[in-house]
């Protein structure tokens, strides 16, 4: 079969793996955006910067405090999530009574500040972060060579995404979140502290982004621009998937990553724009998005 396509299997599966890794990041980030948007009705433009911040904090933990990768996976989301909570309480919460677009503008400004500060401090060339020794090396699968760390990225992303989906769709906590997304006033009238739920949800979404940043640190070099271009693609992913469904965001993220990888094999020049082209098609055919809730 591979002779028919004319591409050696290593190249094909190598690109598919890279696509799957990109898809992992698309999935985690669009999931975080969807969770935040569902309850807050705000598009968190700072999401890319918070992902980048996650990578930087992991790097700082290693280089300033000698704290390694595995602890970073735990500490970084908590630290950056807490930072997100401060942002929400101090600034974002003041905009809830206004048009949603102000939230977009505010978080855009925050993204510029975060990016600018880090660029000022660390420049634009990337900082290296090495793969943790337990995950170095790889497996020879016959049709391709699977680097252990990259396999780990995909597995960890799946665990986090499925775990989040499970909590939201199947647990009591998730029921509170889903109900508050539908009718926050009534949920408040039952005695539930909705503003606190909103704050914690934003913190959780930010923590998801930061977690992705830690995963990304050994794969892409840690640099202040790593979030900006990524977040725009994630926006396209979100428009394609529609933000109505958690599962939809996850599936769309992974699938688009795979499609991007495939495009790189067969038509490399188009790979950076294929997701936008798909977005154009979806807008023509199903504007609410593939998993969108209306019409």
């Amino acid at each position: 079969m591979f002779e028919l396509i004319g591409i050696p299997p290593q190249a094909l599966f190598g690109q598919l793996l890279l696509g799957l890794i990109n898809g992992s990041f698309y999935a985690i980030l669009s999931l975080g955006l969807a969770v935040i948007f569902g309850l807050l009705n705000i598009i968190n433009f700072a999401h890319g910067a918070q992902y980048m911040l996650g990578a930087f904090v992991a790097w700082m933990l290693l280089n300033y405090l000698g704290i390694g990768y595995w602890w970073a996976l735990l500490i970084v989301p908590l630290v950056v999530g807490a930072f997100g909570i401060v942002l929400e309480r101090l600034m974002i919460a003041r905009l809830y009574h206004l048009d949603h677009l102000y939230g977009l503008l505010l978080t855009f400004g925050l993204a510029l500040i975060i990016q600018g500060l880090l660029r000022n401090q660390y420049g634009i060339s990337g900082l290296p972060y090495s793969i943790p020794p337990q995950l170095s090396g790889g497996q020879n699968l016959g049709f391709m060579f699977l680097p252990n760390y990259r396999g780990w990225v995909v597995v960890a992303s799946l665990i986090v995404c499925v775990g989040t989906w499970f909590v939201i769709e199947k647990t009591r906590l998730g029921a509170y979140l889903r109900a508050a997304t539908e009718n926050p006033t009534l949920v408040g009238a039952f005695g539930i502290n909705v503003p606190r739920m909103i704050t914690l949800t934003y913190g959780f979404g930010v923590a998801l982004a930061a977690f992705a940043g830690v995963l990304a640190a050994p794969v892409y070099s840690v640099n202040p621009n790593m979030g900006a271009d990524l977040i725009i693609v994630v926006f396209a992913v979100v428009v394609i998937g529609g933000m109505g469904s958690i599962l939809g965001s996850i599936v769309t993220g992974f699938s688009l990553g795979l499609i991007e990888g495939l495009t790189k094999v067969f038509y490399p020049e188009a790979s950076s724009v294929v997701i936008f082209v798909i977005m154009a098609i979806v807008l023509l055919v199903k504007p609410a998005g593939l998993f969108g809730r209306a019409a």
Binding site: A179, A189, F190, G191
Partner: protein, 253 residues
């Protein structure tokens, strides 16, 4: 104007005399706004523990607004609302709920993204002594069979039972029910009437908003008539028949 406030004062006195003890809920000169629109112009009434009291009136009289103001859902309000002696006026809704008041909205508010069981279990316990799930199934056997259905797939009557059932779990002592019989078949309406009677036996205090005063007469102890954002009259249930002409005039029937 003077005569109206005189009537209100008369109403309040009638209640206090009838009570002999401090009322559970005391609403005084409640005013409320929807944006710029001044909807309540000074609502005054009392509810004693264990009573079932209805707010009767035409569409737009301000009955639902009154309930929402008591519950703290309406942001722009003024006046006094005391529950168990505590002033509730400037508390956010979640604190009103935690004081022991529960709200069942007119549109029922069943969450579409939750199944029936999740809808039922959603309101947290605010006070000890709420009904158990088994007791709720006794009241509303239909719910037991439909636990895993998606919330809004239930019929209107089932949704109403779910909306009432879920607030019974919380331990709230006072229930605010907004038009529970609206749009329901007579058989279901009777069931709801029996439920309210049963709840009264269990010691709940209920404030009911109703347009269907015949239904109201089967369950309530007293009726307040609300007109243009004010309470204009109070009628004991026993005296309802004697005043039927007056009531029909109020309701524009």
């Amino acid at each position: 104007m003077a005569s109206l406030s005189g009537a209100e004062a008369a109403v309040a006195t009638k209640t206090a005399d009838a009570a002999g003890s401090a009322p559970l809920l005391s609403v005084r000169d409640l005013e409320a706004w929807y944006g710029e629109s001044h909807v309540l112009h000074g609502v005054t009434f009392d509810v004693r523990a264990g009573e079932v009291v209805t707010l009767l009136g035409r569409n737009g009289a301000g009955k639902t607004t009154t309930l929402k103001s008591i519950m703290g859902i309406l942001p722009k309000r003024k006046g006094s609302v005391t529950f168990e002696g505590r002033e509730m006026m400037h508390l956010p809704a979640r604190h009103v709920a935690r004081a022991g008041i529960a709200f069942c909205p007119e549109e029922r508010g069943i969450f579409a993204s939750l199944d029936v069981e999740e809808n039922l279990m959603l309101p947290p316990e605010v006070k000890p002594g709420g009904m158990s799930v088994e007791q709720i199934f006794e009241l509303f056997p239909n719910l037991k069979e439909r636990l895993s259905s998606q919330g809004t797939k239930l019929s209107g009557g089932e949704q109403q039972m779910l909306a009432i059932g879920r607030i019974l779990r919380t331990g709230a002592k006072m229930l605010l029910l907004d038009e529970p019989t609206e749009g329901l078949a007579p058989v279901i309406i009777q069931q709801i009437g029996r439920t309210i009677a049963r709840l009264k036996e269990e010691g709940f205090t209920i404030v009911l908003v109703e347009q269907n005063f015949r239904f109201a007469s089967t369950v309530a102890d007293r009726h307040y008539v609300v007109e243009q954002g004010k309470v204009v009259d109070m009628i004991q249930n026993g005296e309802l028949d004697a005043n039927i002409g007056k009531i029909e005039a109020y309701l524009g029937v």
